[in-house]
C-alpha cells in the first residue's frame, strides 16, 4: 500500500473525481488535517438532497414490495447485480426526475391508504356505539320540547320495559313520566324518558340515582340516519383505498428504474461526500489517499490523462488499509479471514494456509462422496446460471473446493450417501454386503476404527497448531524479535513435537520414546530457563519460567478440540446410514419403492443441511480459536476504494 497525493485545478475537480470513481483505484483518506491556507468546501446541502432521494426511493420500493411483492425464487439471493455500461449512467440520470416524481406519488398514495385505514377504524367505533340506538327515532342529543323534558341515555343494568317503569316509579312516586326501552343488554339499557318540563329536576334526580348517563358523542342526527351516512362514508373510503392500491401496483414495472435511480443518487452522494473531505485553496484542491502498490502506475496514467495535475506517491504508515491479494485457490477463504478481522500491521496474510486447512477439515467433517459431488455440481451450476457478485461467487467457490475435499474424504471413509450403494444392493438382492467389501479400495471406517481416526484427527490438529506457531515464528523473525521467535515459539513447537514423537514411540518403537522424551524434557528445561526473562531477580525468573509450563494445559485442550473431526465425520456417516435403513425398510413392493425414493431424498437433504452447517461452523471455530490464537493479531482495515458502488447495479467488476 502506498499513500498518494494528487494536486489539481479546481476547474478539473468534477472530471478528475469522476475518473477516479469510475476506476476505483484509490481510497480517499479522511484523517488528514486541513493545511494552512486551505479550507474545506461545504457540500452538505447537495449531499443532503441526494441522501434524501436515496431514502425516498428506499421507501417507495418498500411500499411497492408490500403491494406487489417482487417475484423472486428461492435462489435469487445468489443473483449478481445487473451489469450496466458506464454510459447508461447518464441515461439513468436524465430519467431520475421522473422516477423521483413517481416515488413521491407512491409515498403520497401510501399515506392516503394509511389515513383511510385510521378513518375506517374511527367509523367502526362510531357505528358500534350507534348500534344500540338504531330503534330511536329522535336525535340523540334531544333534551327538551316546549312542554316536556327528554332524557336519552343509558342505565348500567339490564331492564325490561316493566321493570324500568317500576324502578323509576320507586325512586320518586310523585314523578309523572313516560319511559321507553330502546335496547337492553347484560351490561346496560338504553332508555328514553319523557316528563313534564316542570318536573325536570325531579326526573334528573331519579335517573341519577339509577346511574343514568347521556351517550358520548351525541349528535343532532337521528341515529339511523347517522349510521347510514357513516356506512356510505365507509364505502367511499374502501373504494379510495382500493384505487390507491391499484395505482401503487401499477408502478410495479417501474421497480427496476427506481432501483437504478437509487444507485445513481447513492453514487453521487459518495462523490459529494468525498468533495467534503478535500482541501481546497482558491485555485487548486488536494486529494490524499491510499493506493495498492501495483496500481500506482495505472493511477498516475489515469490522472495525467484526465486533467493537468501532479501525482506524488509516498510510503504508507502503519494505519494504512490492507488489500488482500491471493491466488484462485486461496481467494475464496478471504471472506472467512475478514469475518474474523483483516490482517493488522504486523500480521502476515494467512489466507493460503487458512484456505488449505479450511477445505481439508471441512471435508473430513462432512466426509461423504455423494454429498461432496452434489456440492460441487450445485455450486458450479449456481455460478454459471446466476453470475453472482464477487463476494457471493467467492462464497460459492469456497463450498465448491470444500465439496472436492468432502468427496475425497468420503472415498477414504467409504461413504457415498452413507452406505447407500451397499444398502441398495442388499435391498434388491437380499445379500449382506458391506461398503468395505463393495469398494475396490481400502477404506477407513470411522465407526469401526474410531480410535485410529481420533488419533489421526489429533495428529492433524497438531500439524494445524504447529503451522500456526510457525507463522508466529516467522513473524517474530521478520520483526527481528529473536527471543520471541526461538524461546517463546520455537521451544514450544519443539516440545509439542517431542511429545508427539514420545506418543508415537509408545505404539511403534521404544527408541522413539526415548528420543521424544529427551526432546520434550530439554525443551521444558529451556522454557523454564527463558520464560521468566522479563521478570526481576533470580527467584522471579525461576517462578516465571516454571509457571509458563502450565501453558501445556491449553495446548492439550486445543489438541483435544480436534476430536470434533472424528465426531462430526461420524455424525454425517451414521445419520446417512440411518436414513438408508429407514428408506429400505418397507420391502420390495410398489409402496416400498415410493417410500424408498421419498425417504431417501428427504432424509439425505436433512442430513446435508444439518451436517454441512455443523461442519462449516466447527471448521471455522478450529481456524479462529485453535490456529489464529497462536499468531494472528488482526485489527487491520480493509481497502475500500472510492468507486461506483451500487446496491442493484454494477458498472465495473469489483476488486
Amino acid at each position: 500500500m502506498k499513500t498518494v497525493r494528487i494536486i489539481a485545478l479546481r476547474k478539473d475537480r468534477k472530471r478528475l473525481l469522476e475518473h477516479l470513481q469510475d476506476n476505483g483505484l484509490i481510497q480517499i483518506r479522511s484523517d488528514v488535517e486541513t493545511r494552512q491556507g486551505f479550507g474545506r468546501v461545504d457540500m452538505s446541502s447537495q449531499l443532503h438532497v441526494f441522501e434524501r432521494n436515496v431514502a425516498l426511493t428506499e421507501q417507495a420500493l418498500k411500499i411497492l414490495d408490500e403491494e406487489s411483492p417482487e417475484k423472486s425464487g428461492l435462489l435469487s439471493s445468489f443473483k449478481g447485480r445487473r451489469k450496466i455500461d458506464p454510459d447508461d449512467l447518464g441515461e439513468i440520470a436524465a430519467k431520475s426526475q421522473q422516477v423521483i416524481a413517481d416515488c413521491n406519488r407512491l409515498v403520497e398514495l401510501d399515506k392516503k391508504c394509511t389515513d383511510n385505514a385510521a378513518e375506517l377504524i374511527r367509523i367502526r367505533t362510531q357505528l358500534s356505539q350507534l348500534e344500540a340506538w338504531e330503534k330511536l327515532d329522535i336525535p340523540l342529543n334531544t333534551t327538551s320540547t316546549k312542554s316536556t323534558s327528554v332524557f336519552v341515555g343509558t342505565l348500567p343494568s339490564p331492564y325490561t320495559e316493566k321493570e324500568l317503569n317500576e324502578a323509576i316509579a320507586a325512586e320518586n312516586p310523585k314523578l309523572e313520566f313516560a319511559a321507553e326501552l330502546i335496547h337492553s343488554e347484560p351490561t346496560q339499557s338504553c332508555i328514553v324518558l319523557f316528563s313534564p318540563a316542570s318536573q325536570k329536576t325531579m326526573s334528573e334526580d331519579a335517573l341519577r340515582a339509577l346511574g343514568f348517563a347521556r351517550p358520548m358523542g351525541a349528535t343532532s342526527k337521528v341515529p339511523k340516519v347517522k349510521s347510514e351516512k357513516l356506512r356510505e362514508k365507509r364505502e367511499k373510503l374502501l373504494e379510495s383505498t382500493e384505487k390507491a392500491r391499484e395505482e401503487i401496483a401499477s408502478f410495479a414495472d417501474r421497480r427496476e428504474a427506481i432501483k437504478e435511480t437509487q444507485d445513481y443518487f447513492r453514487i453521487r452522494a459518495d462523490k459529494y461526500e468525498v468533495i467534503n473531505r478535500l482541501d481546497h485553496s482558491r485555485h487548486v484542491f488536494i486529494i490524499e489517499g491510499y493506493v495498492p502498490e501495483e496500481d500506482c502506475e495505472k493511477l498516475e496514467e489515469l490522472c495525467r490523462h484526465a486533467a493537468p495535475c501532479t501525482v506524488e506517491f509516498g510510503e504508507a504508515g502503519d494505519d494504512a488499509p490492507v488489500k488482500l491479494k491471493n491466488n484462485k485457490f486461496a481467494e475464496p477463504a478471504q471472506g472467512i479471514l475478514t469475518m474474523y478481522s483483516a490482517p493488522g500491521k504486523t500480521d502476515i496474510d494467512p489466507t493460503p494456509l487458512l484456505a488449505f486447512f479450511f477445505y481439508f477439515f471441512f471435508g473430513m467433517m462432512f466426509s461423504d462422496a455423494g454429498y461432496g459431488l452434489l456440492m460441487v455440481i450445485a455450486t458450479g451450476l449456481m455460478i454459471k446460471l446466476f453470475k453472482p457478485d464477487k463476494k457471493m461467487r467467492n462464497n460459492l467457490k469456497l463450498f465448491q473446493y470444500c465439496g472436492i475435499s468432502t468427496t475425497l474424504w468420503g472415498l477414504v471413509f467409504g461413504s457415498i450417501f452413507g452406505d447407500a450403494p451397499a444398502a441398495l444392493y442388499n435391498f434388491f438382492t437380499d445379500s449382506k454386503i458391506t461398503m468395505a467389501q463393495l469398494l475396490p479400495w481400502p477404506t477407513l471406517d470411522p465407526q469401526k476404527d474410531a480410535l485410529l481416526v481420533m488419533v489421526l484427527s489429533i495428529a492433524f490438529g497438531l500439524i494445524h497448531i504447529l503451522v500456526g506457531m510457525g507463522c508466529k515464528f516467522y513473524a517474530c523473525l521478520k520483526q527481528k524479535d529473536y527471543a520471541g521467535a526461538f524461546f517463546d515459539t520455537g521451544l514450544w513447537m519443539l516440545l509439542l513435537v517431542g511429545i508427539a514423537v514420545l506418543a508415537a514411540g509408545m505404539f511403534f518403537n521404544p527408541v522413539l520414546m526415548t528420543v521424544g522424551a529427551v526432546i520434550a524434557i530439554a525443551c521444558a528445561v529451556g522454557l523454564v530457563l527463558t520464560q521468566g526473562r522479563a521478570k526481576k531477580g533470580i527467584i522471579g525468573k525461576a517462578i516465571g519460567g516454571l509457571a509458563s509450563l502450565y501453558d501445556i494445559t491449553s495446548y492439550i485442550s486445543d489438541l483435544l478440540s480436534y476430536t470434533r473431526l472424528l465426531a462430526l465425520g461420524l455424525t454425517t456417516g451414521v445419520m446417512a446410514q440411518v436414513f438408508n435403513m429407514l428408506a429400505t425398510m418397507m420391502g420390495r413392493s410398489v409402496a416400498g419403492f415410493i417410500a424408498l425414493v421419498i425417504i431417501f431424498i428427504i432424509g439425505h437433504l436433512i442430513n446435508i443441511g444439518l451436517n454441512a452447517l455443523g461442519s462449516y461452523v466447527h471448521t471455522m471455530r478450529l481456524q479462529y480459536v485453535e490456529m489464529f490464537s497462536k499468531f494472528y493479531e488482526g485489527g487491520g482495515k480493509e481497502f475500500e476504494p472510492f468507486s461506483l458502488n451500487g446496491n442493484y447495479i454494477k458498472i465495473q467488476e469489483d476488486n
Binding site: 469475518m339 474474523y340 465407526q447 469401526k448 474410531a450 480410535l451 481420533m454 485442550s557 483435544l560 478440540s561 476430536t563 470434533r564 472424528l566 465426531a567 461420524l570 455424525t571 451414521v574 445419520m575 440411518v578 435403513m581 444439518l610 452447517l613 455443523g614 461452523v617 466447527h618 471455522m620 471455530r621 479462529y624 480459536v625
Partner: protein, 157 residues
C-alpha cells in the same frame, strides 16, 4: 437372562437425555432469534446458525443410541450378556448427562450470541465461536460413550 433390557435402556438414556439438552437449548435460542427476526427478517441465515448450534448434543446422543441398537441384536449384532448390557447402559450415561447439561448451557450462550449479533452484524463470527466453546464438553462426553459402545461387544464379560 441377557442384557437386552439394559442395552436398550442405555440407548434410550443416551438419546433422550442428550435430546432434552438440545431441545431446551435450541428452543431458547429459537425464541430469542424470533424476537430478532421480528425486527429484521434479513438476519434469518445468521440467526439460524446460532439457533442450531446447541442442536448437536441431540445428534451425538442419537448416534450413541443407534450404535447400541446396531450392536445389541436389535438392528444387527448379537444379544449382549447381562454384564455387557449393564456396560452399555453405563457408557451411554456420559453423552446422556454431558449432552443434557452442555445443551442447556450452550443454549444460554446462543441466546446471548443472538443478542450480540442482533446489535452488530460484524460480531456474528465472534458470537458463533464463543458459543461453540461450550461444545467441546459435549464432544468429550460423546467420544467417551462412543469408544466404550464400540468396544463393549468385543469385551469378554
Amino acid at each position: 437372562m441377557n442384557g437386552m433390557f439394559f442395552a436398550l435402556l442405555g440407548a434410550a438414556l443416551a438419546t433422550v437425555l442428550a435430546g432434552i439438552g438440545s431441545a431446551k437449548g435450541v428452543g431458547g435460542a429459537a425464541q430469542a432469534s424470533m424476537g430478532v427476526l421480528s425486527e429484521d427478517s434479513s438476519k434469518f441465515g445468521k440467526m439460524l446458525v446460532l439457533t442450531l448450534l446447541p442442536g448437536t448434543q441431540g445428534l451425538y446422543g442419537f448416534i450413541v443410541g443407534f450404535l447400541i441398537l446396531v450392536s445389541c441384536g436389535v438392528l444387527g449384532g448379537s444379544a449382549p450378556t447381562l454384564a455387557q448390557g449393564l456396560a452399555f447402559a453405563v457408557a451411554s450415561l456420559a453423552i446422556g448427562l454431558g449432552g443434557l447439561f452442555s445443551g442447556i448451557a450452550q443454549g444460554k450462550a446462543a441466546v446471548s450470541g443472538i443478542a450480540l449479533s442482533a446489535k452488530n452484524d460484524k460480531d456474528f463470527s465472534k458470537a458463533m465461536v464463543s458459543v461453540t466453546l461450550v461444545e467441546i464438553y459435549a464432544l468429550l462426553s460423546f467420544i467417551v460413550s462412543l469408544l466404550a459402545v464400540i468396544q463393549i461387544p468385543n469385551l469378554n464379560i
